[in-house]
């Protein structure tokens, strides 16, 4: 009798990025556009982050109205662009074995870029500064921006939600078609038989993760649309809105979008790391169980942002706390232990891609610890409005998701150009890691000392944390500039590497 952790019938070989005859070339080109577009915008939005930190350190002076515009653009833009890069990476990984329609990927990308353009113009031209959470009723009642700016922001979010919806629906359809149904992509029979039912070929881990992410993406997009409909109605003067309902809906949308980008990029590790270690990453029962659980747990943890709302039902508060704990455990343990098992005595060459992937693992773990602390109700009561919260999500993003995404992009370029990443480039990865860690550490220290978040003007005694962080941010920026320079010189070759003689020009 097969044990719960018996070797499953998943394809044992390491799947190359390029399918035979470059059949996935068109999808890979769309995926490259996602990743490069996402990470390119990330660089620009990162500069806005540097401006805010310089302001908080008292080194430059940004008028408060402009600070909040920049903060809104930085926050909303980062969630959107990192998710964009993550979705591109996932499409590339899945396209190696599953037919994805490049046209649909491009349409979803253009919808996302349209949404992003709305956010940029609304903040920079329209003066909108209510924060990326656009929490009701502030957007409609801000004294320093017109109602039309709030409406334009909502329209931008609507396009972002539609783009995500198109991508997720297509991904789910393609996977279900390739595997003969959704239950097979999620390996539900294998899961509920505790690994005994091995009659069907299991999906590769990136395919399983893509299905999980797509289901949550559809739920998040639906929540976004549910939030936006009463917001439009309110802007038109039709009705008043229940503020608590609005906050629940917008955080289910926004928090899940943020979570998605982190979990999608973690999924990229499953696709890329085996090609460096030479060991296939099998779809074990533990992997299936952990990722299938994510479907529910990722949707349950958003309400840890509502602990301060006394009107929120206690059940939802507890669900937020338990969901936050539970979402961390399966994916962390399986992914982190799996990655370390992959690396252990594999003889891996530490070029830039695996270095960044490993950095991402540690960033994810450290960000997760910060998040679990913040999700604990008594801690949250004290820390939620301090710099502790930006510290934890910056760890998740900068050292986790973004490191994964850059690592995956370097992996893609290596695969498509058949050209090894230069060894010296590892120095840039160290600069990125040390710069990022120093910058984030000072956010944690500031949070630990109760420095409030979302303040445009910092008291002199708070400024020291930001001042210490600035050299680290500059080191981080130099590392990123090195990444960009190197990729810029090799990108065209990678693009050509996707094209076969018969492919679309």
């Amino acid at each position: 009798m097969a044990s719960a952790f018996a070797v499953p019938p998943s394809p044992p070989a390491i799947t190359p990025l390029l399918a035979p005859d470059r059949a996935n070339g068109a999808a890979l080109r769309a995926a490259l556009a996602y990743v490069v577009g996402g990470l390119g915008t990330f660089l620009l939005l990162g500069l806005l982050g540097l401006l805010m930190r310089l302001d908080q350190g008292g080194l430059i002076v940004i008028p408060a109205a402009w600070f909040y515009r920049i903060m809104t653009l930085h926050g909303a833009g980062m969630v959107a662009t990192i998710l964009l890069a993550a979705l591109g990476g996932l499409a590339a990984a899945v396209s190696a074995t599953t037919h994805l329609n490049a046209r649909v990927l491009w349409i979803a990308l253009i919808l996302q870029l349209t949404g992003t353009s709305f956010v940029i113009l609304t903040t920079l031209v329209g003066g909108f500064g209510a924060g990326w959470t656009v929490l009701y009723p502030l957007p409609g009642h801000g004294d320093i921006w017109p109602l039309s700016a709030a409406i334009a922001m909502y329209v931008g979010y609507l396009f972002l939600a539609l783009g995500l919806l198109v991508y997720c629906l297509h991904m789910l359809y393609a996977l279900a078609r390739a595997h003969g149904g959704l239950t097979n992509v999620l390996a539900l029979r294998y899961l509920f038989s505790f690994g005994r039912d091995t009659r069907r070929t299991l999906p590769r881990p990136p395919e399983l993760i893509a299905a999980v992410i797509s289901i949550d993406g559809i739920a998040a997009a639906a929540a976004g649309i549910v939030y936006l409909i009463p917001m439009f109605a309110h802007a038109a003067g039709v009705t008043s809105v229940d503020a608590l309902f609005a906050k629940n809906a917008v955080l289910l949308f926004g928090h899940t979008m943020a979570n998605l980008s982190i979990y999608v990029t973690a999924g990229l590790v499953y696709a890329a790391l085996p090609s460096f270690t030479g060991r296939p990453w099998r779809t074990t029962w533990a992997v299936v169980c952990a990722w299938d659980l994510i479907i529910i747990l990722m949707l349950a943890n958003y309400s840890h942002h509502l602990y301060a709302d006394f009107a929120q039902p206690l059940g939802l508060q507890l669900l937020g706390e338990l969901g936050s704990y539970a979402v961390a455990l399966p994916s962390f343990i399986v992914t982190v232990v799996g990655a370390l098992t992959q690396i252990y005595r594999s003889g891996i060459r530490w070029t830039i891609a695996p270095t960044l992937l490993l950095l991402g693992i540690w960033g994810w773990v450290l960000g997760g610890i910060g998040a679990v602390l913040d999700a604990t109700i008594p801690v949250n009561q004290v820390m939620h409005n301090t710099m502790w919260v930006p510290a934890h999500f910056h760890t998740y993003y900068l050292l986790g998701a973004v490191a994964f995404a850059w690592g995956y992009l370097f992996y893609m370029v290596r695969e498509l150009t058949a050209d090894r990443n230069p060894r010296m480039l590892r120095v840039a990865a160290w600069m990125y890691g040390i710069g990022g860690a120093g910058f984030i550490f000072m956010l944690f220290v500031a949070g630990g000392n109760s420095v409030p978040r979302r303040y445009a003007v910092h008291l002199p005694q708070w400024q020291v944390y930001a001042r210490i962080a600035v050299p680290f941010v500059i080191l981080l920026a130099l590392g990123l500039a090195w990444f960009s320079w190197d990729l810029g010189t090799r990108f065209l070759a990678a693009w050509r590497g996707t094209q076969s003689a018969a492919s679309e020009p």
Binding site: W106, L113, F159
Partner: protein, 287 residues
Amino acid sequence: MTVAPGPSGFVWEWEWELPLLASLVVSEVAYVACWFRGGLAPQHAHLAWKHLAAFTAGLVIIVIALASPIGANDERLLSMHMVAHDLLIWVAAPLLVMGGVPLLGDTIRLPRYLRRALELLTSPIVALLVSTSLLWVWHAPAAFDRALASESVHVVEHLCFLIGYLLYWWPLVVQPEAIGRLRGHLARAVYLVVGMMQSALLSALIMFHGTVLYTTYLHVPGATLDSALADQRLAGALMWYPGAVIFALAAALAIRENRTSPLAGSTVSTRQRDHEKAAAARTDPVQ
């Protein structure tokens, strides 16, 4: 017949102007004649009902934009003026290209001077620059107010928009083998996004501007500073939001896996192959 609007009411009458109507009718008659003849170069043209429908629909949209209550009120309300511009550049222009270009037949076989001129004007960078420049220059307050003050300048303004956006849509809409056709998903996506971004920026500048940009609208009977400003905000939104939807739709239609004509949904290549097969069969001595 021009109707002087009341102080606050919306004019529900059409503004029929003879030169406009005459030029549209002549265009339609000329198009239909050429269409029945099989195009300007019949041996290479492959015209279908959808081309006739697209061209006719383009002309009807021009009538709606300029002669309907939308056009009739464009000197009273900036928002109506923007709707008229939207219809001209985002609906009428692509429809006219879709229906009109196949009339030329195989553009590669056009006379050399005409081909060179087309290659230059419809190259994506030139088309983008021309359409963007015309859109921005005419929305400068001085130029816009001048157009509102003089009927002939107003006509020139609309012609500029139409010509600029005939060029803009050309690389996306024309049949696969035509001159100026933009190839590759990335190129088409970038072209669409740049086109969308520049018009979105202009719309946002109009929408969020704190004062009335086009002062003519302050002198409309019954207008106040607040009403003119609210109208300006609405005008910006009417240029921005439908524009984004149009570009998203255009992306859905223009980015395709195969080489068939995008927005037109044309199967010109297949038709051409059939046509060539039939021609070959006619000349085949064995048959």
